[in-house]
């Protein structure tokens, strides 16, 4: 799965504070991990003393996230002014102008949560959901 892959980061500058376990990357930041691709103006990683990833905060105008969920044919895309990824919970939380879409299905709202391992989306606070009806395959005859 994506989570087991190494993380690659490119940025213009970075400040790494090992005592506090915080690394801040700024300027055209691109983060990739397996099928995950993140683009943001600023990415803040916090990690534990045992060097395990704890949390990732993305800030951008907007920050963008893309992933090809397991067993899925289409990428899941997300954008928001602010995203927080909680590594131990596999939870990506989008706030401020959040939008998530996969194919023609879209979710928008003030706050959307996406489970990156199970591919589940939860949205609250002024949510708008657009789910496109699935095309009936020609072999199956519609019920009358």
């Amino acid at each position: 799965t994506d989570k087991d892959q190494p993380i690659n980061i490119t940025a213009e500058q970075a400040t790494i504070d090992d005592l506090k376990g915080v690394a801040i990357y700024e300027g055209n930041v691109i983060v990739t991990q397996g099928t995950i691709r993140i683009e943001a103006d600023k990415v803040t990683l916090t990690y534990t003393q045992k060097q395990t990833l704890d949390k990732v905060i993305l800030d951008g105008n907007p920050a963008r996230f893309k992933q090809r969920p397991d067993n899925s044919k289409e990428d899941l895309n997300a954008k928001a002014s602010k995203m927080e990824y909680f590594a131990t919970e596999n939870r990506l939380q989008l706030t401020q102008n959040a939008e998530v879409w996969q194919g023609k299905d879209t979710f928008t709202g003030q706050r959307i949560t996406y489970d990156t391992e199970r591919g589940i989306i939860k949205a609250n606070q002024k949510v708008q959901v657009t789910i496109q009806p699935r095309q009936q395959s020609s072999s199956s005859t519609p019920a009358n």
């Binding site: 993380i7 980061i9 500058q13 970075a14 005592l19 060097q51 395990t52």
Partner: protein
């Protein structure tokens, strides 16, 4: 004396006059050169050199060693194969090795030249770290190491590259100045 003799004497006098001025100038220049040259002549040289600095509480703060140290009266001291150790509460924290080194006359600045390898000891909670670069400028106070050269940082499960870096040795904060590329394997 006829005209020709006068002309000869006059020419002779002119030559003598110019030669005297020329010789006087030559002698003056060489006098200045010698002062400047003197400052470039070492006043002492040491082999297997070690200098140790303690902090106010008597604990080791930093230690500088070198295969040879050449000291000049005015200009910077030269070091060959210098190794600089920084301690934290008496514990070894950083070791910095370089090919050459220069120390400013006031001992506040140190330039570690050529390939320079900084190693941080693994003292909890920080992990071992190895920083490979060139031409690093050390300020003894506030204990910073800085370069504009390409840098590679190797951690336990991370490898980061940048161009330009500043390290705050006491707080272990690294500022990577440009073109940052990192690869991390988090558990």
């Amino acid at each position: 004396m006829d005209k020709e003799q006068w002309a000869g004497w006059t020419l002779l006098l002119l030559v003598a006059g110019f030669s005297t001025i020329w010789l006087y100038r030559m002698e003056k220049d060489s006098a200045i050169m010698s002062e400047e040259d003197l400052s470039r002549v070492p006043d002492y040289t040491l082999g297997r050199f070690t200098a140790t600095q303690l902090d106010k509480t008597g604990l080791l703060q930093h230690r500088l060693t070198a295969e040879t140290m050449v000291h000049y009266p005015v200009i910077e001291t030269e070091l060959r194969a210098p190794v600089l150790f920084f301690y934290d509460k008496g514990q070894p924290a950083w070791q910095i090795v370089a090919e050459q080194g220069r120390v400013s006359p006031d001992n506040k600045n140190l330039w570690l030249l050529g390939e320079t390898i900084m190693e941080r000891q693994s003292v909890a909670p920080t992990e071992q770290l190895r920083l490979i670069s060139r031409d690093v400028w050390i300020q003894v106070e506030p204990q910073t190491a800085e370069t504009i050269e390409p840098t590679t940082i190797l951690g336990q499960n991370a490898e980061t590259h940048s161009v330009g870096m500043k390290v705050y040795l006491p707080t272990h904060v690294l500022e990577l100045r440009s073109q940052v590329r990192g690869r991390y394997v988090y558990q």
